[in-house]
Assembly symmetry: C2
Homo-oligomer: 172 residues x 2
């Protein structure tokens, strides 16, 4: 496909929009990270107002990867900014949030050996920190009692799996 | 917030873009469904070119909810269109694909009691049907050997959980 068949509609701060070959609408968006942090069988969640959906969501800590940052660096920065914690990061998975129209790639990390870290949320963010049992989060998301994100459901399912494996190891 | 503080930049076929209060970029997108279908320990996947990410992805069957359709109706229609199968649908979860900038809500269903159904993919779709072990899909997504979507990782984690539970029930 030649470049001149792509029409750029908008170039903004976090998204840009183009139309390819007069029909394919494509949203360009920075890649992002999300972090699963577990302590005493509970997962670290943030509650915040999401203007795009007009509601407060319950999510795991997450944010965009800045220019020049590795996904792991971004995960460490976001975790400390949003929750004043840091940890050792292991990649759990990566996926496109919605590849039918958008190129945003999400990396989900497990943070282990949690310890205190300095940090302040972005001025646009108004976050509440909460710790929840992953099984409760899973059923609240399914029933619509809580609204979550793609990385939240992925992190929650990994958390359930992780706790199950720990339980089996203790039994063995 | 009054209506005149929202500026509509673009209204397209599948996305529209607005800027709220001169700074919040919001993409509006139809809600969507994805389907986990399991048979003999393998999950139903579709391989397809996704122009927005410039690559072939490995995903579970998925698609947009049409006007007037329930999520369950859409799941049945998409499953039969893409794979010529139908099944009994149970909601596994729902989540926003990327609530930081977009209002797309995804519903993931489990399809059980699979049976043949007539169906033809949309003319824009060029799909290959594949059945995979969910554990293989999980590691291929993590390692970047396969590219997937948010609903694919959610469906895959549910599949692993489902197979584990079936195994435990057989043991008990």
């Amino acid at each position: 496909m030649s470049q001149d068949q792509t029409q750029t509609i908008y170039q903004g701060k976090i998204v840009s929009l183009e139309v390819q070959e007069g029909k394919w609408e494509v949203v360009r968006h920075a890649h992002a990270v999300a972090i699963l942090a577990l302590r005493n069988g509970k997962m670290l969640c943030v509650r915040q107002l999401r203007r795009a959906v007009g509601a407060h969501t319950l999510e795991v800590p997450a944010g965009l990867i800045d220019d020049g940052e590795t996904p792991e660096d971004a995960a460490n920065r976001e975790l400390s900014e949003e929750t004043n914690l840091q940890g050792d990061m292991t990649l759990l998975t990566r996926f496109y949030s919605s590849p039918g129209f958008c190129d945003e790639l999400l990396y989900v990390f497990l943070a282990e050996n949690l310890r205190d870290a300095p940090g302040t949320p972005d001025e646009d963010e108004d976050l509440t920190i909460e710790w929840h049992d992953p099984h409760d989060v899973l059923s609240a998301l399914r029933d619509g009692r809580e609204l979550g994100s793609a990385s939240t459901i992925a992190a929650t399912l990994f958390a359930v799996q992780h706790l199950q494996q720990s339980q089996e190891q203790r039994r063995a």
